[in-house]
Symmetry: C2
Subunit: 305 residues, 2 copies
């Protein structure tokens, strides 16, 4: 079971020479999600050797430029490189207008379908599920309608015990039913109970993305006990007033949310361009929530083996 | 007299991990022009330590994404960083629609005016002039309406001979008239003829930008004898058929245009992502036009001392 987060961009509104605007890739057992798509995301995907055609689901938290301006370039490149598979975009309806007019301006034709799914900015909402994962959006408070995202790995099918499988010569055709709970009768008539042929599932893993948001305790209910939380920490604590004015959070506020939600680990990101050295932000966050990491572009954060 | 070109991006439609989409900066005696603005241009400006607020004129050749998708991010960053000066954008009217809808989607307010100047895709057109430079657009043939740009340094005012200025104690108030051709009478009644107080102007310098375009000899008339020509060479000669189909040019075609236009020096760029090593493109171009350079991101090409 793979559960890997790769940060592609962790800068706030204005990028720096070293830090890109928001974007990250979450790989849950080879289902690959792109979360936000700031300017330059397609180049960051290449630099990090992530095959962009394997992305089928793109989540756009809100329509500030640093969270979506790389999208039209990525969609265009996907088409040029021969994509024919549908792509699913979870966003505000306004994004569809923006993309439509840019396609018109360039007089291009995408060789695949974009399936838009419009976010609900009022309540928790299931966006997508397959056998590996459930994804949700939840409301956050920012200057324009904004959602956070929650990803939970699931194991709806049981895992087969391969030792028993080989020993008993269980045919491939029977596996699907066993995964769904069926017993199996061997050729010599012995009944193997399902519990013998299957193994306990590993526990689900969970990841929550909260960027951009003002300090807002109402999000705690959605992200309670997650294994990994990415929470914006645009400013240090001495700029709490400005953070509030701009509907952003500070280091201490991110840590407070992590603590109240009882998350296992926190990554802070969306750093203001004013900070060259990020270590003071990490130190300050750790005073409230010790198990914190800095977002680093190109770094892979893995919850699995 | 400064006349410096800095390449920020020289990739064609799909960027690579090393090469960005089209953008370049031309500095003519501290009037700074941005020519095309592909995705990531604002980051490239920072990496190359070019102060983005000093850009007052942006020329967009056409509305394929690799030539303009960095614009809205740059405009937004300029506002966030406190810009109040007008900015002039020379482009298709469709670009105004694209920018307007993106500003609406982000619910942002720019703290300065954008002055749009719509390109004439039929004939040579004077876009902007000041005491240092005249800029023109001219039509090119591509899949959508596209212009090339021509920049000619000018010296409409005469240069003052500083030795005479100091020796004769000529007051600052008199300099403007002298630059416009007036003689000067000293305090002790001597008439100094204008030719004594001023120096010969240096010769004008010129730069032409041709990207994107099919091989098209009709552009030769506009770029005749320029000191420096940037011409796209998306493909090598063995892909001439594809170049034609896609309304692009090959190395040999770029060199042929340079030769027919009798330019002093050629820079080739807008390279297809299929080429990792660009040296074969340079070698092939030089077989037809020897004084050729490769576009290299971050490199400054200077026509002045």
């Amino acid at each position: 079971m793979k559960f890997q987060l790769t940060i592609l961009g962790c800068s706030s509104a204005t990028p720096t020479a070293e830090r890109h605007p928001s974007s990250q890739v979450l790989n849950i057992n080879e289902t690959i999600f792109l979360i936000d798509c700031g300017e330059g995301t397609q180049i960051q995907l290449r630099r990090n050797k992530i095959k962009l055609q394997r992305i089928n689901h793109i989540f756009i938290s809100h329509l500030h430029g640093d969270h979506y301006l790389g999208l039209i370039g990525l969609l265009s490149t996907m088409s040029i490189l021969g994509r024919t598979n549908d792509i699913h975009i979870y966003s505000s309806p306004l994004l569809q207008e923006v993309i439509d007019i840019q396609i018109k301006a360039s007089d291009i034709h995408l060789n695949y379908q974009i399936c838009f799914h419009f976010l609900n900015y009022e309540k928790l909402d299931l966006l997508f599920e397959n056998k590996n994962v459930e994804t949700f959006s939840f409301p956050m408070i920012h200057r324009i309608p904004t959602c956070g995202f929650l990803f939970i790995s699931t194991h709806k099918e049981k895992n087969i015990n391969k030792e028993v499988l080989n020993k008993e010569n269980i045919p491939i055709e029977a596996i699907k039913q066993i995964k769904n709970g069926a017993d199996f009768t061997t050729e010599d008539g012995r009944l193997l109970k399902n519990a013998i042929i299957t193994k306990e599932n590993v526990l689900p893993l969970s990841y929550a993305y909260c960027s951009d948001t003002i300090f807002d305790e109402s999000i705690v209910q959605y992200i309670k006990n997650v294994d990994l939380l990415y929470h914006e920490a645009t400013f240090m604590n001495d700029m709490a007033t400005m953070a509030k004015e701009k509907f952003h959070s500070t280091t201490v506020e991110a840590a407070t949310i992590a603590s109240k939600a009882n998350v296992k680990q926190l990554i802070i990101g969306h750093f203001s361009a004013r900070y060259n050295d990020l270590s003071p932000l990490l130190i300050e966050t750790k005073t409230v929530f010790d198990n914190t990491l800095l977002a680093e572009e190109g770094k892979v954060y893995s919850l699995s083996d």
